[in-house]
């Protein structure tokens, strides 16, 4: 009886096309556009236009924008509209100040709670990163670094911490890093720091792991701040808005 098509069978032919909601489909795309700067930082977002761009109506679009606001990539004002988050030095410092506190916490917790399996994954990621370093695969560097911090946060075991960092801060951090990356040889040093952090975690030395993470993040902040100031100086010079 019945080799007939049940709804589940269809999944063989159209694999990951589950009954996903429109918002979920579109959210990542808009997110990426913002992080890469295709939707420029600080620019206005038109609901209608955005909806048409992805072939959906304004309802799901509004929901997506609200989710992006939760991720701090978008700022919405009633009756006025939505804007892409602006990148400023002041916010960068606030953001990294908070990030540092939270990831140090995550790192300390991870040193106490990480499982053997999670630790193995971390080692493997580290090796892949070190390998990619020789290949000069800069794209993998970006994603790999995100993954590194991501895995440690997961290993902390604190749900609210994970939600705060990954759901709330991480995408904005990605945006700063994507748009303020200079092609120095920071990766070499960064990955060396990664190794020492993993070693500390493996030795269950929470205090050391936290300390190393704090320094690691501070390095990243300085790097980003410097580049951001350069960029802003350039754009200000290019737009001499008032000739007094």
């Amino acid at each position: 009886m019945g080799q007939a098509l049940s709804p589940q069978d269809l999944s063989e032919f159209t694999p990951q096309e589950k009954s996903i909601t429109l918002v979920e489909q579109v959210l990542v795309q808009i997110q990426t556009s913002i992080i890469k700067g295709e939707l420029p930082a600080g620019s206005k977002i038109n609901e209608q236009a955005l909806a048409e761009k992805y072939g959906i109506s304004r309802g799901p679009t509004r929901e997506a924008l609200q989710l992006l606001e939760r991720q701090r990539l978008v700022v919405r004002v009633p009756h006025i509209g939505a804007r892409v988050a602006a990148l400023t030095v002041e916010e960068l410092n606030d953001l990294y100040e908070l990030r540092s506190t939270l990831e140090v916490m995550a790192c300390e917790l991870a040193a106490k709670r990480i499982t053997e399996e999670q630790l193995n994954n971390l080692w493997q990621l580290l090796e892949r990163q070190e390998a990619a370093l020789n290949d000069g695969d800069s794209y993998f560097q970006q994603e790999g670094d995100v993954d590194f911090h991501y895995q440690i946060i997961r290993a902390s075991g604190n749900r609210h911490l994970q939600e705060t960092l990954i759901g709330g801060l991480y995408h904005l951090l990605r945006m700063y890093r994507y748009q303020c990356t200079n092609n120095s040889r920071r990766p070499v040093r960064a990955i060396a720091e990664h190794r020492r952090i993993v070693e500390a975690i493996a030795q269950r030395d929470a205090e050391l792991a936290g300390l190393l993470m704090r320094r690691h993040i501070e390095q990243g902040r300085q790097n980003t701040e410097q580049r951001l100031k350069q960029l802003q100086a350039q754009t200000l010079a290019a737009k001499p808005q008032n000739v007094c």
Copy 2:
């Protein structure tokens, strides 16, 4: 000419009835219902019913629910629906673990950055709390305590920290406290702790202020955890779900 009614003139007759959005009007009411338990923790929320209750349509209702999800008071699952957050001991510990880290950070920053005016407000609030203690005004105690922490968070000067704590965690904390408050004489002790924290901030002693805040919050956690366990034991005893 024309003393005729311009839109602005109407505001004289209906004072603070600005053109506020429906979501803003309803959000606080639903929030309060959840925190007070009128919408029971863990219960399902029906969009249609909720919309009718406040005389609005499902559109704004959905937006309000999404905002409540950001505040962790509601959990939404696609195609399934929204539920009021469940109160569990495990989450309470995760929540307080994170809260402690963040408010210690806020306290340390406040000790460094607080203005004279903000400090005066803090002293005044403290005096009002101590006065209310003698009157036994327990409602003011609740709100006063919220205000105390709120003001310190504001004084930290870090926008992202404020958003994370006030926009993300605080309402869920209020829910735990409202529903897990025992009428012990904790307030007396709590306000004594408040005083010492303010003194440390006034002396610009960030380290001490942070330490005192950490202990203060840990006290609150223990208190709430104890009460929560009592409540859950009661409700489980009342519902002997399986008689094996």
